[in-house]
């Protein structure tokens, strides 16, 4: 069952709850992971002294030492291939790829090695690797500095994929992912790094969570989150698109349309139950993602919804996505990433759908 919270977490003065940016939340999570798990190592390009170009690893080398947090030469395949050997030696590597587009040079190591070593070795060589990938666009960055690789990763047997949309989830999902025995691709929405939000550090003990099921707080980290409750239509999104969908829902509410926003969080495994519950109630769905349309994850989500809700659906599931074009440069970025208008049009298509 999905965890239910209303809207984006908003300011609160409760004890144990802090206002943190996603960058701060991730940094804090890594700091605690290093402190709690002596076999964890963090490495990549510029993540030592500099603390990473996004400062996610800021101060960690100074605090935990160069053996735990270190710079590597500038070679992505090297970073990921090295992770395999470290995992074989009993470590929990948390490598960083500096920008999503630079995961491509490492695809061989990710797909052919990290994703398969557990299988190849019949379970004797688990790959507890959490690959942190600053992901998606929205920051007007140069080419290859903003890509949406989730469908590519999610398609690979042996990988798990997760993307937080807010600081609270970023903190907990990272702590959770980094303590799992399987490889997780952790897609950080880079356009959200500096957005602040409340982080309840005490709300879930990510370290002791059981991965499957589990009705405790931590167990809920394995599934989707209802970011906003609504009756008329479900918007399904993840990463940076969640806050945009919440904005859309606010606007639609002015017209009396009550939209539910489902933050998928896990892109593999996808929380099919949460989709069924939400769309079972609203009977209409629009999937929103930044990645190109064709063979994107939206198709997978639509199929899961069709399977569970076919009989009650009032319209085919719509997709509002990026286009089948290489990620455009900054000037065209706003045209490419689903904007509020395009999402509203998608919603309209579903609401106005008539059979025959």
């Amino acid at each position: 069952m999905p965890e239910t919270t209303t809207a984006e977490p908003t300011a609160t003065a409760a004890v144990g709850i802090q206002q943190l940016s996603m960058q701060q939340a991730l940094n804090r999570a890594l700091d605690e992971i290093l402190a709690d798990h002596p076999k964890t190592v963090i490495f990549g390009e510029d993540c030592g002294q500099l603390g990473g170009v996004f400062r996610i690893t800021d101060g960690l080398q100074a605090k935990h030492g160069e053996g735990r947090v270190f710079d590597t030469p500038l070679a992505e395949s090297g970073i990921l291939g090295m992770s395999v050997g470290l995992a074989m030696a009993g470590f929990h590597p948390i490598p960083e790829v500096q920008f999503d587009g630079f995961a491509y040079p490492a695809i061989n190591q990710i797909v052919c090695q990290i994703a398969r070593m557990n299988y190849r070795s019949r379970g004797t060589l688990p790959m507890p690797i959490t690959l942190r990938v600053p992901s998606f666009g929205g920051i007007r960055a140069p080419e290859h500095h903003g890509e949406s690789l989730e469908a590519l990763f999610a398609h690979v047997p042996g990988l798990k994929v997760v993307s937080p949309s807010n600081p609270h989830d970023a903190y907990h999902l990272l702590k959770y992912a980094a303590t799992r025995p399987d490889p997780v691709i952790f897609m950080e929405p880079k356009s959200r790094y500096w957005q602040k939000g409340p982080v309840d550090v005490a709300s879930a003990d990510a370290n002791t969570a059981a991965h499957d099921g589990g009705t405790d707080d931590a167990g809920s980290l394995t599934g989707a989150r209802v970011a906003r409750e609504g009756r008329h239509l479900t918007l399904v999104a993840w990463g940076a698109m969640v806050s945009r969908c919440l904005q859309v829902a606010e606007l639609a509410a002015e017209d009396g349309i009550d939209i539910e926003v489902l933050d998928l969080r896990w892109l593999k495994p996808i929380d099919a139950e949460a989709l069924a519950t939400s769309v079972g109630k609203t009977r209409r769905a629009v999937v929103v993602h930044e990645a190109p349309l064709t063979s994107g994850l939206g198709a997978e989500v639509a199929q899961l919804i069709t399977q569970s809700c076919f009989a009650t659906l009032k319209a085919p599931v719509e997709r509002v996505t990026g286009f089948d074009v290489p990620y455009p440069s900054g000037d065209l970025e706003d045209e490419y990433i689903p904007n509020i208008d395009r999402i509203l049009f998608g919603i309209q298509r579903v609401l106005e759908y008539r059979r025959g």
């Binding site: 190592v41 053996g67 590597t72 030469p73 070679a75 395949s77 090297g78 990921l80 291939g81 090295m82 992770s83 395999v84 050997g85 470290l86 995992a87 074989m88 030696a89 009993g90 470590f91 590597p93 061989n108 190591q109 052919c112 090695q113 398969r116 070593m117 557990n118 299988y119 190849r120 070795s121 019949r122 379970g123 004797t124 060589l125 688990p126 047997p157 042996g158 798990k160 799992r180 025995p181 399987d182 991965h211 499957d212 593999k268 495994p269 996808i270 099919a272």
Partner: protein, 348 residues
């Protein structure tokens, strides 16, 4: 050919091999030669679907594998390191199971055997060795385990090899890069594969000491590997060894070398047979006699028979493993696919 230091010196003041060790090396080489030849025959007989022979590479493989300390080192093989596996004492049915198409990585336990799963991606595991080796030094311990990664002259063209050498040199990781230069990458000869003269020569660019060794001389290979291990263990970082040898047979049982080399060229290129050469040396030095060689051959045949029987007994793996070994923590989708598969294939 003798050991030739291409760059840098690797100290080694270890004692020479005893007669017992020399005889053991021969026994291993004889076992490997026989099993390798038999495996090709098994393929022709339909016992296994395919095999990558290492005929002619016995000295390179046994000599290097013999230098591994199985209490602390770790080997990262390709698909052609049967001789290394045998020299390291692997369960050979488990090893051969990969050629029976039972399980990609083989059915042995990599952690216990210190031999990583069989690797089909050319140069795929060279970086893994660097990661593993760096892990050994992270605690700051001296006299650590050493990673030895095997790859061919063809693999040396892969970017991962360059990344690995650079990483290892920068991090002073205890890695032995063991290049078996068998003259060919399927149909492409070394001179059309390797720029810069040799793989060993490239090491200079990374500041890594390297040496070329006569890969058909088992003692030379052993000594080179042993000194490389000593160098790594002493905290001096990686070493590149290029063992010059020759792939006498086809690349794999599916290959037809007649399309890219003549039998005459093959004879010329192959040079002296490493097994026969070692035998003559042991005879000349009075280390072993004909009775010993006959006994080594008898043991090799006995061993091969038992491995063949083991292979024949290997049934197909239960289909459920296809699902259960993907993750340590299976996903719900995978579990439901497994359930569905069970139902539909009546394996429930």
């Amino acid at each position: 050919m003798t050991i030739k230091a291409v760059q840098g010196a690797v100290d080694d003041d270890a004692a020479p091999l005893t007669h017992d060790q020399l005889r053991e090396l021969y026994t291993l080489m004889a076992a490997v030669r026989h099993l390798d030849t038999a495996a090709v025959a098994w393929q022709r007989q339909g016992i296994i679907p395919g095999y990558a022979p290492e005929l002619g590479q016995e000295a390179a493989q046994v000599g290097s594998g013999y230098a591994v300390d199985r209490t602390r080192d770790f080997v990262f093989p390709t698909y052609r390191e049967m001789g290394v596996a045998r020299a390291m004492g692997l369960d050979m049915v488990g090893y051969m199971s990969t050629h029976k198409a039972t399980w990609h990585g083989g059915m042995y336990n990599p952690l216990e055997s210190r031999f990583a799963p069989i690797q089909a991606v050319v140069a795929g595991s060279v970086l893994h060795a660097v990661g593993w080796a760096h892990g050994q030094t992270l605690g700051g311990a001296q006299d650590t385990g050493v990673a030895m990664t095997y790859f061919g002259d063809g693999a040396s063209s892969q970017g991962d090899v360059h990344e690995a050498m650079n990483f290892a040199a920068v991090m002073k990781a205890p890695v032995v890069f063991f290049v078996q230069n068998n003259g060919w990458a399927i149909s492409v000869p070394t001179e059309r594969q390797v720029a810069g003269g040799s793989v060993a020569a490239r090491a200079a660019g990374y500041g890594i000491p390297s040496l070329q060794v006569d890969g058909n001389d088992v003692v030379a290979v052993y000594e080179a590997t042993r000194s490389a291990f000593a160098h790594c263990r002493a905290g001096n970082g990686p070493v590149v060894i290029e063992a010059m040898t020759y792939r006498r047979g086809p690349h794999s049982t599916a290959d037809d070398p007649g399309r890219y080399r003549t039998l005459d060229e093959e004879r010329l290129g192959a040079g002296e047979d490493p097994l026969e050469r070692f035998k003559q040396r042991l005879l000349a030095d009075g280390v072993a006699d004909e009775a010993f060689f006959a006994e080594a051959q008898r043991k090799a045949e006995e061993e091969e028979e038992s491995i063949r029987a083991g292979i024949a007994d290997l049934g197909p793996r239960p289909g459920a493993e296809m699902f259960s070994l993907v993750f340590q923590e299976p996903t719900p989708a995978l579990q439901s696919q497994a359930t569905e598969w069970r139902k539909e294939s009546e394996h429930a």
